[in-house]
Symmetry: C2
Subunit: 134 residues, 2 copies
DNA sequence: GTTTAATCCCATAAAATATATAGGGTTATA
DNA sequence: TATAACCCTATATATTTTATGGGATTAAAC
């Protein structure tokens, strides 16, 4: 399940994608469209900025805007930043791999099946972008 | 990500599937194959029994065994029992549906995309069974 | 019928994670 | 200089996950 963080992020990103090319959009405006805690959203957008999904402009007239056009930002990227691995097990994760010390990856049947699940997810999540969201 | 509960469950189910037709397998034996907390596994197997995945026999010589042959038990069933929804959002879940009060399901773009993700998962998880695990 | 080996049941403790808030600092514009 | 914005870090709160404890019940073996 997507965390609230990821859900809020997608809502904010929807606003930001719609606002593309129109300059920075302040948090206060995003929250008008999508009611949620300003402070919580602040930490989320900060995370997205540090991960190069967003840019920001400080001071009066400032706000956030997308670093790339919406069709260049896929859902997998966003989910990984806020929720971590997309794979159902660390031992089959491409971006968050960790060895499984309780099972042997060569003989472990769950491994192989969960890699299939991972791929099925990535098929969708890496193909779909913020453009599909608006 | 799969919870530990689900992971332990799959390990235990692997043992139980291999033991098919050979009578009840006690927890103590499962734990010999897959080191984990006996008490924790106990609650997991109890849950699987109450959900009609397993049967049990009490008393000396007792233990657990599969209620159906391994090829009749798919991974989606098991995950739903222990971890709940497979869908990334309740509002697109088939078995745990809840209305999304923050967004309109007709116009919400995330909804549609997450339904795609759900289906991609189910493609794999409902096709694969305990037989594929052994 | 007593011992033993198993599941059953329920409560709760402990740890980890997710969610949210607080408060001040920094920057840019008017 | 006032204002409106983001920046940063810490911490509080709530929820969920993980694990444990202590018996009660059942059935086989002796």
């Amino acid at each position: 399940m997507l965390s609230k963080k990821a859900q809020y992020a997608f809502r904010a990103l929807t606003s930001l994608a719609r606002n593309e090319g129109k300059g920075p959009l302040p948090i206060s405006n995003i929250v008008k469209e999508h009611p949620m805690s300003v402070k919580f959203l602040e930490t989320i957008l900060l995370e997205l900025r540090k991960s190069d999904i967003l840019c920001s402009k400080k001071g009066k007239g400032g706000g956030y805007f997308l670093m790339s056009p919406p069709e260049k930002i896929n859902l997998a990227q966003v989910i990984r930043i806020l929720d971590g691995p997309i794979a159902p097990l660390k031992c089959v994760s491409l971006h968050f791999y960790e060895r499984c010390d309780d099972c042997n990856e060569v003989s472990c049947g769950l491994n192989k099946l969960m890699a299939e699940v991972r791929d099925a997810n990535l098929q969708v999540l890496e193909k779909r972008t913020l453009r599909d969201l608006i």
